[in-house]
């Protein structure tokens, strides 16, 4: 048991999770008071002791699956009192299929189903006409909506058959799980089936509300089936290649290390979620005047008045209430093609800021500058707001190539007076000005008026000032120039403020 947990922790560390020695000792201590026959309890105990950040949870779950399901939990942990059969008694789908995995070898329910029968079973699963409460409740959200066995199979059973029939898995083939998943999904026509079932369920619903609820339920079931298929494929790959090899193949960067410029859609969604609290911190940091002052200056009059109660001895000094500076943030963001991916992040940041603070004004530029504050008003959804900025804002004057000099001069001329001593100015961009004049005086003039000026650059530091990057011209005017390629760097910037 010790060895397995050690391997597991080592793999977590290789994946980038910060697991300390004390935490791994805690994990072992936790296991001593945990029912080792229950896979779910073990999972919970390890998660509570080893993962202290929700964003790391998906990576943890994946690795847990690799290390603790291939041979059945009890075997892995080396306890003899809890035979594999006990695991199958659980309501949790993975445990169930681990036991069923043994059964597959014995051919108890291993007979193949025809593709049509399978699709039919999937259709019934999606439609939800199954006795509820038999399969169900995976660790993921929404997993619980599932009724169990459509054909008496259950989600796990169905996934197993589908993988048998469609994935065409061959030992020794050097392909990743995604390839098999893709093959299975394509031949199962899951998307089409889900669409069809959703439409059918919606059509029979009496009104719009119930129609969208029904559609949603079908979508959730399809997502849960996909997740189960993925897990099933992974289990088989583990059995074939061993957990370590597979973990290496599956390794992904932590959410905070994902480069904004190369983020996938899912990663971008995760980043967007993480941005909310971060933007709150950013705004409060910008607003904070002095760090350790919890009270204002001595209030002499109040102190004297108060001292009368103690016969003129000023027992309790009185202080004025500290002046809380309202954050006034002006964001100036490059939205040109060269930073397109970063611009998406930028605008998300602006959105997150503006939903939390009323005094956020945002401006976008390519070679002209336009105010985009209104696009981020509270009623807008981020996606719609971003689309509108790109479609409607007047940010292009000539050719749509970024021209920082021109944009800054225009900004200074048009909005310069609105930058004041309370304003924190954030410039977001790569300072690649296509060999136009940098016109750094405009930024200097702005910086002179503003309280702080910070520049966040999505490019790696080594590329700064190479080619057409003119960051060097602007840097002296700023209070700080920071590389900002991922959430970790953004968080560091926020922490260094103040």
């Amino acid at each position: 048991m010790l060895a397995t947990v050690e391997d597991f922790v080592a793999e977590l560390r290789r994946a980038g999770l910060p697991v300390s020695l004390t935490e791994s000792l805690d994990a072992l201590a936790a296991l001593t008071v945990t029912d080792l026959g229950s896979r779910r309890a073990v999972h919970g105990a390890l998660a509570a002791t080893l993962v202290k950040e929700q964003g790391h949870r998906p990576i943890f779950d994946t690795i847990f699956d690799l290390y603790f399901s291939s041979r059945g939990l009890a075997a892995t942990l080396g306890t003899e009192e809890a035979p594999v059969g006990a695991v199958g008694g659980e309501r949790d789908p993975d445990g169930g299929s681990a036991a069923a995995g043994e059964a597959r070898g014995g051919g108890v329910d291993g007979e193949a189903m025809s593709p049509e029968a399978l699709r039919d079973a999937v259709r019934r699963l999606l439609a939800g006409d199954a006795p509820s409460g038999t399969g169900g409740a995976s660790t993921g959200p929404g997993g619980g909506v599932l009724g169990g066995g459509a054909t008496g199979l259950g989600l796990a059973g169905l996934a197993r058959r589908a993988v048998d029939a469609f994935a065409g898995m061959e030992p020794g083939r050097p392909v990743g799980g995604t390839y098999y998943l893709y093959r299975t999904l394509r031949q199962l026509h899951l998307d089409a089936l889900a669409e069809e079932e959703g439409a059918r369920a919606a059509a029979t619903a009496p009104d719009a509300l119930r129609a969208s609820l029904a559609r949603r339920a079908v979508r959730d079931r399809a997502a849960a089936l996909t997740a189960e298929l993925e897990a099933e494929i992974r289990r088989r790959l583990v059995a074939e290649r061993g957990p370590e090899a597979l973990a290496r193949a599956l390794r992904r960067p932590l959410p905070e290390d994902v480069d904004f410029m190369h983020a996938t859609r899912e990663e971008m969604a995760e980043i967007a979620r993480a941005l909310r609290p971060l933007s709150l911190r950013l705004a409060t940091r910008l607003a904070r005047r002095r760090r350790h002052r919890h009270r204002g200056a001595l209030d002499f009059r109040a102190t004297i008045r108060r001292s009368l109660a103690a016969g003129g001895v000023p027992l309790e000094p009185r202080f004025r209430r500290p002046h809380v500076a309202k954050p006034e943030i002006v964001v100036l963001a490059d939205v040109s093609g060269s930073v397109a991916a970063f611009a998406r992040f930028t605008l998300l940041l602006v959105y997150a800021l503006s939903t939390q603070f009323s005094k956020v004004r945002s401006f976008a530029f390519i070679d002209a500058v336009d105010e985009v504050t209104g696009y981020f008003d509270r009623s807008a959804e981020p996606a719609a707001a971003l689309a509108r900025v790109q479609a409607e804002a007047n940010v292009v004057a000539l050719d749509g190539h970024s021209d920082y000099g021109r944009a800054l001069v225009a900004f200074w001329a048009r909005y310069g007076t609105e930058v004041g001593p309370k304003t924190s100015l954030l410039v977001l961009g790569d300072a690649r000005s296509n060999y136009h004049a940098p016109e750094a005086w405009a930024l200097e003039a702005l910086a002179a008026r503003a309280r702080h000026t910070f520049w966040l650059n999505p490019e790696p530091r080594v590329y700064w000032n190479s080619g057409d990057s003119v960051l060097g011209a602007y840097a002296p005017a700023c209070d700080g120039v920071h590389e900002c390629r991922n959430l970790r760097q953004l968080a560091r910037f926020v922490d260094e403020l103040a």
Partner: protein, 330 residues
């Protein structure tokens, strides 16, 4: 450090006991509470607002029959409010009294006297440590603390002891059960996280929410509870400014029961959405995405046009209808 006998025997026992204290825990929560109880480690409970983090601590206290000591954190909370404070009014009084009464006393005697326990005001952390009966300590919204104050918590949570320069180190009579809750507005320090068990309390699954509604709202029909849970889950799937919390779900369900509703439909939902959603923009979004398109409604109330129009808050800025307008402001 003296060991406290555990409150609970197993995760299942935790679950049952919490259910008895009218808190429906899922496996994860029950597991973590059980571990915390057995290992004597604090639990850091994180999650969105309104998912019952504070309630978990309260319910655990009820279930364990322990006294709940609560420390509400806020920016500016300091040692004097969290740990202990010398009651210096009382000290002054003592000195005055000694002088008036003409007690001849040396400075050492006097110092010893006024820096002793009768002059100590215990604040929640110290109180939890000195308690001799079973206690549950709840440190609420720990993310509001400054980093410096957080360090203070560390000593207490790691060693369960408090050093008072004048008195020496006070050790815990027994390890209290500790819950820290956080809304994640600030990254907590690694050191604090390392010392805690971590429990992320997310919005409940529709099943669990349904069970919560059934347990808390007497007389609600199962069918209605089911639909309520589903609608709320669907709402949380939208990108709202403020997602409905569990207590809002309960309010909504209670209102529906009072109104004699036994089945949800689009019209009733629309009429009562304001109980769940607290921003006009959120309500509009929900109407658009959940209750169907503008075509489904009468022509007179076409608010759900593709472009959001709720620009009611001017935010001290011109609406960006174009560069020319912005330019003319100068």
């Amino acid at each position: 450090m003296p060991v406290r006998s555990p409150f609970f025997t197993s995760a299942a026992d935790v679950r049952a006991a919490l259910a008895g204290a009218s808190y429906l825990a899922d496996d994860q929560i029950a597991g973590v509470v059980h571990l915390a109880d057995r290992l004597g480690k604090p639990v850091l409970v994180e999650g969105p607002a309104g998912t019952g983090k504070t309630e978990l601590a309260k319910a655990t206290a009820r279930a364990a029959g322990a006294r709940l000591i609560r420390l509400q954190c806020y920016e500016g909370l300091d040692e004097a409010k969290a740990l202990y404070e010398w009651d210096y009014k009382k000290q002054l009084l003592r000195i005055q009294a000694a002088r008036v009464g003409g007690e001849p006393r040396s400075w050492e005697e006097m110092e010893e006297d006024i820096f002793s326990e009768p002059f100590l005001l215990t604040r929640p952390l110290l109180e939890a440590i000195r308690a001799t009966e079973p206690v549950v300590l709840l440190v609420d919204e720990v993310d509001r603390l400054e980093v410096e104050t957080e360090a203070l918590l560390l000593e207490v949570l790691a060693e369960f002891q408090v050093s008072i320069p004048e008195l020496g180190t006070l050790e815990a009579a027994q390890v209290p059960m500790v819950f820290l809750t956080s809304n994640d507005t600030r990254e907590l320090s690694e050191a604090l996280k390392r010392r805690c068990l971590f429990c992320y309390v997310d919005y409940p699954t529709p099943e669990r929410e349904r069970a919560i509604v059934l347990a808390r709202i007497p007389g609600i029909a199962e069918r209605l509870a089911d639909q309520v849970a589903q609608v709320v889950a669907a709402l949380r799937g939208l990108e709202l400014r403020k997602e409905p919390s569990i207590s809002e779900t309960l309010d909504w369900a209670a209102a529906l029961v009072l109104a004699g509703v036994d089945e949800m439909d689009a019209e009733r939902t629309r009429e009562s959405l304001h109980i769940l959603l607290k921003y006009r923009s959120d309500i509009e979004l929900a109407e658009r995405r959940l209750l169907g398109d503008a075509e489904r409604r009468g022509p007179g109330q076409q608010r759900g046009a593709p472009q959001p129009t709720g620009r009611t808050e001017p935010q001290g800025a011109t609406l960006p209808t174009g560069a020319s307008e912005g330019g003319s402001r100068r």
